[in-house]
Amino acid sequence: MSYLPYVIAAYCVFAIVLGWDYVAPRLQVRQQLRAAKLRVMRRQDTIPRDLEAPLTRE
């Protein structure tokens, strides 16, 4: 008797889970780097205002 559908299902499970195992950390790294870049951009936006602040008070 052929159990081909069961074999295909099992190998599909293997491929899907390992596919997730490959993709998930790459997405996390990308997310962390994007967050870091946004932080840098926010910091750059705030620096000129901070420098001007003491002058306006004077």
Binding site: V7, V17, P25, V29, K37
Partner: protein, 249 residues
């Protein structure tokens, strides 16, 4: 200083580890994939069907390596956690916590492929057999470690708490291994032995060893990638991460 010792100390530096992981993880993935592809080719197209189980025995070539990985990764996670707890090495905390999702993935594969094999062979998708039940508990332990690590804001305190769970949980591993010996089990006993005599025909073994080696190398890639992501998360406020983000995006 001895070059190996120097390299070990350098690896503790977060920027150095990031460069190391980003450089070697893709190679580990590619090498692991090639080894598994070769193993799967043998498993699906070279090895003859089993005289009793027919083609369904081919599920063994993904089920057995995944089951071994599920236990080996847990042991490694506990080892890293113990080192992190005793010597407070941050990189070991990161590596221990990076083991958990990869180990959970292999445990899930083990349970699902075993279930798919069980339906035609045992006539049921699931049975509360000692081996199956202890493997399910292992999955819950992995999920517990992942959950605990993400539930606490302080990364180092979270890694210590989750690491402690991993160390306690390692007691389950011999129970999983010997469950087929200690209790009357529907699950078959030990068929394949790394060092002793295997109860499988020698012609059926080479694809299995390729798969075992391939899953190990794949795991190295997964471990490095996940550890790199966690390392970046912990170091998110540092200048080197900002420079890296500027350079890569």
């Amino acid at each position: 200083m001895n070059p190996v010792v120097r390299w070990f100390h350098q690896l503790g530096s977060p920027p150095y580890f990031d460069r190391f992981a980003s450089r070697w993880a893709p190679w580990a993935y590619v090498l692991g994939l090639l080894m598994m592809a070769w193993g799967l080719y043998g498993a699906l197209f070279v090895v003859p069907a089993d005289y009793q189980q027919g083609d369904s025995f081919r599920i063994l070539y993904i089920h057995v390596p995944s089951a071994w990985m599920s236990m080996a990764i847990f042991a490694l996670m506990a080892l890293y956690s113990a080192i992190a707890l005793i010597w407070r090495i941050k990189l070991c905390e990161i590596l221990a916590m990076a083991c958990a999702p990869a180990g959970a993935a292999f445990t899930l594969i083990t349970l699902l492929t075993g279930s798919i094999w069980g339906k035609p062979m045992w006539g049921t998708w699931w049975d509360w057999d000692p081996r199956l039940t202890t493997e399910l508990i292992l999955l819950f332990l992995y999920l517990g470690v992942i959950g605990l690590y993400n539930a606490i804001d302080d990364r180092r305190a979270a890694a210590r708490a989750a690491g402690l769970l991993a160390i306690v949980g390692v007691a389950l591993l011999p129970v999983i291994h010997y469950s087929v010996t200690w209790w009357n089990s529907l699950h078959q006993g030990q068929t394949i032995s790394l060092f002793g005599k295997s109860h499988m025909d020698a012609s059926m073994l080479p694809p299995l060893w390729w798969m075992v080696a391939g899953t190990h190398v794949w795991f190295v890639g997964s471990l490095l990638s996940r550890a790199r992501a966690d390392n970046l998360r912990r170091e998110s406020g540092k200048d080197w991460v900002a420079r890296l983000a500027g350079a890569t995006q």
